[in-house]
């Protein structure tokens, strides 16, 4: 039995089978997370608001995402008159693809990544902006005034937050000396003060760097308090105003998939990935614990804070985050130059 099992594992680890296994694994991981994060969000919102949240469909409302999905799928896919049909229909597909591709390089455990790319970090950030482009296409092609305003907001918001995000990530790449996500995690082994978040001897501003990364991640995933894309009290449903049925559903799922990606990245870059904080039993469990803790904090923030004003959001990025992240970049460059012996 054991021999058979190990044989199956060996076969699955060879190239064509490995690919299939990973594609299925990532797609189902994203789909399950997207569906059940909606449930987590609704339950969480309920608890924050002193109400039970969904209870009716299934035990503790656990079948609610299924019911929601079925409802969305049974609806007609409306394309408004005067909309650019191809872009309008294509945008939901385009919004989901980059997230799935980016997750291929995320190491969930030691050696547990679909692709061991030595420029994994670069790939994630190369694919990231496609998601925003898709939202813009969808909004612009639906020929709705609210959606067009939202599209303009999406672009300026994401451009503003892409810069500090990349500066912060460059700091990490410089400190680690690699863009391989596996190696970045490997370097953070040991107790929790070896995590990038607490490595103040490499750069005293490391916690600030994490904070900037976290804020940028909220803004890039268009989450509250930076949810300018939807801004339901101003722009009705923003970019998604004209989307019906599963077209809207895919945008909605992509939002959660992006949160999963963002929180995984934060875990990998700052919280030591699969490393255990007490240097025992490292593995995928710790990765998931850290990731879901970050996801919970995202939900927590959404239901606590009001939405920022649009120019306030841009001011925060251009006047505070970019200068500070530039400073940390320069500081860590200087510290590397001074402290590390030339090789």
């Amino acid at each position: 039995m054991n021999a058979l099992f190990s044989k199956v594992i060996t076969v699955l680890d060879t190239e064509p089978y490995r690919l299939v296994v990973w594609v299925v694994a990532i797609v189902s991981f994203v789909a399950l997370n997207a569906a059940y994060l909606v449930w987590v969000e609704r339950k969480g919102a309920g608890r924050f608001q002193r109400r039970p949240g969904p209870t009716e469909v299934g035990p503790a409302g656990l079948l609610q995402p299924v019911a929601d999905g079925l409802k969305l799928m049974s609806k007609q896919l409306l394309v408004p008159a005067g909309a650019d049909s191809m872009l309008f229909r294509g945008a939901p597909l385009l919004v989901m693809a980059p997230v799935l591709m980016s997750l291929a390089v995320i190491p969930f455990g030691r050696g547990l990544a679909a692709v061991n790319l030595n420029v994994g970090l670069l790939m994630v950030f190369a694919l990231g902006p496609i998601n925003l482009m898709a939202i813009m296409f969808g909004a612009w092609s639906s020929r709705n005034k609210y959606a067009v305003m939202s599209a303009a907001r999406v672009v300026s918001q994401n451009v503003a937050y892409e810069i500090p995000m990349l500066l912060v990530v460059t700091t990490i790449a410089m400190v680690s000396g690699t863009m391989d996500l596996n190696q970045i995690v490997e370097q953070q082994s040991g107790a929790f003060w070896h995590w990038n978040l607490f490595r103040v001897w490499v750069n005293p501003l490391m916690p600030v760097t994490f904070l900037i990364f976290y804020i940028c991640m909220l803004a890039e995933t268009n989450r509250a308090p930076f949810d300018m894309v939807e801004a339901e009290s101003e722009l009705v449903a923003g970019a998604y105003t004209e989307y019906a049925g599963m077209g809207f559903g895919v945008f909605f799922m992509a939002e959660y998939a992006n949160i999963v990606l963002g929180c995984s990245l934060a875990t990998v870059l700052f919280l030591g990935g699969w490393q255990s904080p007490f240097s025992f039993m490292p593995g995928v469990t710790w990765f998931l614990i850290k990731m879901y803790f970050l996801i919970f904090s995202v939900v927590w923030i959404r239901w606590t804070f009001p939405r920022t004003q649009f120019y306030g959001l841009l001011n925060l990025s251009w006047k505070i985050l970019i200068p500070v992240s530039l400073f940390t970049l320069i500081l860590s460059a200087a510290m590397i130059k001074m402290l590390r012996a030339p090789s």
């Binding site: 924050f48 009290s233 239901w303 009001p306």
Partner: protein, 379 residues
């Protein structure tokens, strides 16, 4: 909402061609009702915001002119459904003044208690809805949690949760019981720490302050020009309150402050309402302490009410400002002319001038800070 063709010059008027018209409403999440604001926008900036009223016009004034005062009484709860008690007070007040009916003191005190409870519940709805406009969803649920206590109390004595119609010409529909009095005291004790919590959690929040301070300034002159009253004018530094300016009921016997903030921005209006809730709690507590015994209905109220010929006015401070009923009587059972002066119409009319050149999100924050109830605008 489909942009079918470029906006022609005739539609946009003299504005340059880059502007476009955005129809905010009659169904829009930020207008809280069927208010339509025709916005001429230049990108995200508001060039001109023109409120279009009338989507929920129900001829309240005309109805007042073809039915008796008693038949018209339930209508008053439906003008501003969030402060029904105050509005009923306006109509019973004018009839009592015209017919010279002396209201027993117990009834007056209970009127004050219920009116102030109603004011708090109205402000709580505004608070939750305003935060909803600003993108914070959770405060609404907390506000409704507190409001539920008030609604339960008022339901216990009136049988209704929103449109109470509790006051009668000469007194009240019925007396309050011990449950209500105890419940009102419990509510006051419950609400004070809650207001503190709201202050710590919401008012001091940096995002909220950034969104409100300095946004949508309204000068006292502009308020006077458009006849804005209530928290709007008090947020512009004028401590005008009908309860002080034209005292009615037993308000002169009670000790309370009129909160006013001179800044005139959305934050000032926000703070005025938050402070007013605390003041209303003070009023309720005092009125409960002073509550005299005795009947709650005047003895000699004629079954068929004919107001002597003349022109009568009675104003009350409703949750949104000065509500006045004017009755012109020609000594018949039915008013010759009944005019309702509602605060929301005046408060809305300054929006066009005040919102010029603002960003859309700020303009909506300003609209929310005016605390509009749409049936009160259209009547």
């Amino acid at each position: 909402m489909i942009v079918s063709e470029p906006i022609s010059r005739s539609v946009a008027g003299s504005a340059p061609n880059e502007t476009f018209v955005l129809n905010l409403g009659p169904q829009h999440p930020a207008t809280h009702g069927v208010l339509r604001v025709k916005m001429t926008m230049d990108g995200e900036y508001v060039v001109r915001a023109e409120p279009v009223c009338g989507y929920i016009h129900r001829m309240q004034e005309k109805m007042g002119e073809n039915r008796t005062y008693a038949q018209y009484l339930p209508n008053t709860s439906r003008i501003d459904y969030l402060s029904a008690m105050n509005y009923t007070h306006g109509l019973v007040g004018v009839v009592e003044r015209a017919a010279r009916i002396q209201v027993p003191p117990r009834a007056e005190y209970i009127r004050v208690i219920t009116s102030e409870l109603n004011r708090i519940s109205s402000h709580l709805v505004w608070w939750g809805a305003f935060l909803l406009d600003l993108g914070g969803f959770t405060p609404l649920l907390y506000a409704f949690d507190d409001r539920e206590m008030i609604l339960d109390l008022l339901e216990g004595i009136t049988g209704a949760r929103l449109t109470y119609c509790y006051y009668r010409f000469g007194g009240l529909y019925n007396d309050v019981d011990e449950t209500f009095l105890k419940g009102a005291r419990r509510f006051v004790a419950h609400m004070r720490p809650r207001l503190k919590m709201y202050r710590a959690l919401v008012t001091e929040n940096v995002i909220l302050r950034k969104r409100l301070i300095g946004i949508g300034p309204i000068s006292a002159e502009m308020c006077r020009k458009y006849g804005a009253t209530g928290p709007v004018i008090r947020g512009s530094g004028v401590s005008y309150d009908v309860r002080r300016a034209e005292p009615y009921s037993v308000y002169p016997e009670l000790d309370f402050d009129i909160p006013a903030y001179p800044e005139g921005d959305s934050m000032a209006r926000y703070l005025v309402r938050m402070d007013e809730m605390a003041q209303s709690l003070r009023i309720i507590e005092q009125a409960l302490d002073k509550l005299p015994g005795g009947p709650v209905m005047a003895e000699k109220v004629p079954r068929v009410l004919k107001l002597p010929a003349g022109d009568y006015c009675y104003a009350v401070e409703a949750a949104r400002g000065r509500f006045m009923v004017r009755v012109v009587s020609d000594n018949k059972e039915i008013a010759y002319r009944l005019k309702l002066r509602t605060p929301c119409l005046s408060n809305l009319s300054l929006f066009e001038e005040a919102s010029q050149g603002m960003l859309l999100a700020d303009a909506l924050a300003l609209l929310g800070s005016l605390d509009l109830v749409i049936p009160d605008i259209d009547r």
